[in-house]
């Protein structure tokens, strides 16, 4: 029995998740073999290559935004999860407290120190530093030593009427920049000069001291993953949104158009004048409205899909909301150790390595 191949519109329609006032429709992906008789949905790397696309919107070291277009949610979600929980970073893991006279309890201080993001030479962090084995001795290739030794004292140069503690005392505030890195062994080769291990933000406040108080701690940093502790996560946030789709099915004109635009975040809906040609066209709904403003969709990606427009009776049948199932707008915000772009690329490598490793394991199992 011959089957008509699906039209382009049909294929596009399948990609839209419908969003109605109270319900959602067409939620699950249907691009699997056997779902549509006569259609081939089997995995084909060349087909995937043709249909898959990446668009970069922003690419800064601490923040990157890009779209993955043409892949399934399970794949996009795997990358997101790996970025948060499986990409390794270096963080303070052990704090040896020699003296802590500050008002912050030892364990709270240790926790605060652990959460400070550090950075350093990429090559050293990625290639030289290895996992520290369980109950292994610290080695130069798996442990980075830091020290924080500050003592608060009166400032003899302070004026008699000074009330600002930072001027009245020396080291009244302990900052991340007060942490000193001590390279060990071969670490000098990888973490010298601009590659030194240092806090991403030197002005992170660790503690406040008063004269007579001091903090003297040594710290060991190790490589770890976010699934073990959030301090090891290379990202502040790594998330995606699915591209919103707004289809205006019937003209929205004049005052209504202005009201319609207000139902969306700024910039999503624009107002254009109805042209002469449009006004002439019969059955377009624009007849006799030349020069009047009409609502047009300008930037659907900025929409929050609040569905506000569906609450108004006048727009109910004139607009269709949805989301494009295979368009993921990622936002990756790095904590500073690894550049955002590199975090994503590493997550892809990680998924590949996982699959490769399990393929090996499977062969072992069969043997």
């Amino acid at each position: 029995m011959p089957h008509k191949p699906p039209t382009q519109e049909e294929l596009e329609r399948r990609k839209i998740v419908g969003i109605n006032l109270e319900t959602v429709t067409n939620v699950t992906a249907t691009d699997f073999p056997g779902n549509y008789p006569g259609e081939d949905h089997s995995w084909d790397i060349e087909k995937f290559r043709q249909g898959f696309n990446v668009e970069i919107h922003q690419n800064d070291p601490y923040e990157a935004s890009f779209s993955l277009i043409g892949c399934d949610a399970s794949i996009a979600n795997a990358f997101r999860r790996i970025m948060i929980a499986d990409v390794p970073t270096l963080a303070i893991d052990q704090v040896f407290i020699y003296n802590n006279k500050s008002v912050i309890q030892d364990e709270v201080l240790a926790s605060r120190l652990g959460l400070i993001p550090f950075t350093g030479g990429r090559e050293g962090l990625r290639d030289f530093l290895k996992w520290r084995p369980k109950d292994g001795e610290p080695k130069d290739y798996d442990t980075v030593g830091l020290e924080l030794n500050v003592k608060c004292e009166h400032n003899p140069d302070a004026g008699p009427n000074e009330t600002d503690p930072t001027k009245l005392y020396k080291h009244a505030h302990v900052y991340a920049k007060d942490i000193v890195f001590h390279p060990q062994g071969r670490q000098v080769e990888y973490f010298s000069g601009e590659n030194a291990i240092r806090p991403v933000n030197p002005d992170i406040l660790i503690a406040k001291l008063r004269p007579g108080q001091e903090i003297d701690v040594k710290m060991h940093m190790i490589k770890g993953v976010g699934s073990n502790h959030a301090k090891f996560s290379p990202v502040a946030t790594a998330s995606y949104r699915i591209l919103p789709v707004i289809q205006i099915t019937q003209p929205i004109l004049g005052r209504d158009a202005e009201k319609f635009a207000k139902c969306f975040p700024a910039g999503v809906i624009g107002l254009e004048k109805v042209t002469k040609a449009e006004a002439k066209q019969k059955g377009s709904g624009y007849e006799g409205h030349e020069g009047e403003p009409k609502a047009v969709v300008v930037a659907p990606e900025r929409d929050t899909v609040s569905r506000e427009c569906l609450r108004h009776a006048e727009f109910k049948d004139k607009v269709k909301l949805g989301r494009k199932r295979d368009h993921f707008i990622f936002l990756v915000e790095s904590t500073g150790q690894i550049e955002s772009e590199a975090i994503f690329l590493e997550s892809v490598q990680h998924l590949k390595a996982k699959a490769k490793n399990l393929e090996k394991q499977l062969v072992n199992m069969v043997r």
Partner: protein
């Protein structure tokens, strides 16, 4: 998290502690630091070369009751990340009649994958193909992302 394990260790608790040191002082660690300092280049070089990821234990297991074309696999230390992605690529295989994954209990680090195939192939082959397809997919994503990144850098 930072630990004060030495307090728990008997030998530390029983041994004499120099009173100049705070009671929380951990002499063991200081020695490590000294070790690290003393290491000469040759030694540390050898150390890096010695470092090998230990032989991994078998993490994939065929669950009982499995036949050639209908099998359940148990993956240790895997979760939704791989489970869902793998389920997707395996479902893309036209030889596969059914594929699903489950995490039977959230506090056990186990992930199960069920695969039923049509005659002509086996569940193990389908799983192997799925893992290979996933690797190919990752290569394409890397390639397309690097291209897009380069183009973006050139346009900016």
């Amino acid at each position: 998290m930072p630990s004060k394990s030495s307090k728990l260790r008997e030998e530390d608790a029983s041994s004499d502690v120099d009173m100049d040191e705070p009671t929380s002082h951990q002499p063991v660690i200081k020695d490590h630091d000294a070790d690290m300092m003393e290491q000469d280049d040759e030694e540390s070089q050898a150390g890096v070369d010695d470092y090998e990821e230990e032989e991994e234990p078998q993490r994939v297991k065929l669950l009982p009751g499995s036949t050639e074309t209908a099998a359940s696999f148990e993956f240790l230390d895997e979760g939704h990340t791989l489970g869902n992605a793998l389920r997707y690529v395996i479902m893309k295989n036209p030889e596969v009649e059914f594929c699903a994954y489950a995490i039977p209990h959230p506090s056990e680090a186990k992930m199960n994958v069920r695969i039923q195939t049509f005659p002509g192939t086996t569940a193990i082959q389908a799983l192997e193909k799925g893992l290979r397809d996933l690797q190919e997919l990752c290569d394409v994503v890397t390639e397309k992302f690097t291209d897009a990144s380069r183009a973006f850098a050139a346009s900016a």
